[in-house]
């Protein structure tokens, strides 16, 4: 923690602002790339969202999404972008753990870890 000891609140908040903004911009860029591939390949197929089927299993898990994205499938790349977007607030909370630890605020380190646990459970544990 010695490395974090001289972090000021202002510095932490500056980094958080950069983190949030780059997370959103990066995910939007990835979604856009996926959209180009998806529309080029499937643009002329009829659209149907009226009947609920649920997504195929490979678009539901982190490993499946990465596999599809690496295979340059449009829907897989879009889903990867959306995954990055969902991960942005999670990264922000993870970062706050370090911020509170640097301030030696043990109570808020625990509170933040609870929030982080709920978020990680939702992302990887709820399937």
């Amino acid at each position: 923690m010695a490395l974090l000891a001289n972090w000021t609140d202002q510095k932490v908040e500056d980094i958080v602002a950069v983190l949030l903004r780059s997370g959103v911009l990066l995910s939007a860029a990835v979604v856009f790339c996926g959209a180009v591939i998806y529309l080029a390949r499937h643009g002329h197929t009829p659209a149907d969202y009226h009947i609920f089927r649920g997504e195929p299993t490979d678009l539901r898990s982190i490993s499946g999404i990465i596999r599809d994205a690496v295979g340059l499938q449009g829907r897989g790349i879009i889903q990867l972008g959306l995954l990055l977007l969902i991960a942005t607030p999670v990264a922000r909370v993870a970062f706050a753990v370090f911020g509170f630890a640097a301030e030696r605020d043990r109570m808020y380190v625990i509170f933040t870890l609870i929030v982080l646990t709920v978020l990680l459970y939702s992302l990887v544990g709820s399937s």
């Binding site: 998806y38 649920g54 977007l85 969902i86 607030p89």
Partner: protein
């Protein structure tokens, strides 16, 4: 309709929703689900999934601007996020068992309530609370810069605020909205936090709350990339443009028109929900 036409139209609709939401300060997320279900005939579970994703995008984008201003209170936000994220998990699990017609009806009621809140004058409350033992122990009391210098404030009734936040989280997870109105209500009316602090802190919390239910939606297969893509890109570009062209004179009219739109959509959601059309 081909996927290409569908994508362009949904992008346009989401762009307008994001633009109006940012210009009026009412948030675009609240009209997205009615737009998708009523006009594009999208199943409400897909619509809620896409809306959640766009809520994360706009809230994170706006929060980046807010953290620098020094109004948001990260301790209040983080403590209350325990309540909102747990509520969001509950809401996301409820979404799987509650019938879609009931979700539509609840959504309609929330729309009517949001329209009512938006017509009420902004609370000009200047709370001067004595220090509360629990809030002091939780180190929630803070200060923010004003033109007259630093203003200190004390936080009250933490348990009441915490419970309301749990409800806000549940609504957010069930309906795919930010529930910013309920969050501000909890912080302003229950916890007596100054308005500027509660609005900015609420914005900071919305993205984290939405992420807590978005994970469950993703694992359940409720987030469709083909639908979420135009919604997220549309709302994001619309709200970015909206925050950059804030025209003060026109917002009064825009707010009136937008809240009328919300009322009409709310009545339609309730009507279709009760008739089982959704």
């Amino acid at each position: 309709m081909s996927i290409f036409e569908f994508t362009i139209l949904v992008w346009l609709g989401s762009f307008v929703a994001g633009l109006l939401g940012a210009l009026t300060g009412l948030g675009g997320g609240v009209v997205l689900v009615p737009l998708l279900t009523l006009f594009f005939k999208v199943d409400i579970r897909y619509a809620v999934g896409a809306s959640l994703v766009s809520v994360i995008a706009t809230s994170s984008g706006a929060a980046a601007a807010y953290v620098k201003e020094g109004f948001s209170n990260i301790r209040i936000g983080m403590f209350l996020e325990i309540a909102t994220t747990l509520g969001a998990l509950l809401g996301a699990f409820l979404a799987a068992i509650v019938p879609t017609s009931a979700i539509a009806t609840i959504f309609g009621l929330v729309l009517l309530y949001s329209a009512y809140l938006s017509r009420k004058p902004r609370p000009k409350s200047e709370w001067h609370q004595p220090p509360d033992p629990l809030a002091t122990r939780l180190r929630m009391n803070g200060s923010f810069p004003t033109p007259e210098g630093i203003r200190h404030y004390n936080v009250s009734r933490v348990p009441a605020g915490f419970s309301l936040m749990f409800g806000a989280g549940t609504l957010s997870g069930l309906l795919g909205i930010g529930s910013g109105a309920v969050k501000v209500l909890a912080m302003d009316q229950a916890m007596r936090i100054p308005f500027k602090v509660s609005t900015t802190t609420s914005n900071f919390m919305i993205g984290v709350t939405a992420a807590a239910s978005a994970g469950v939606y993703l694992n359940r297969g409720y987030i469709d990339p083909g639908l979420a893509m135009p919604v997220m890109l549309g709302v994001l570009t619309g709200s970015l443009l909206g925050t950059h062209i804030l025209i003060k004179a026109e917002t009064k009219w825009l707010r009136l028109v937008f809240s009328l739109v919300i009322v009409v959509l709310g009545i339609q959601m309730i009507y279709k929900g009760l008739l089982g059309g959704i």
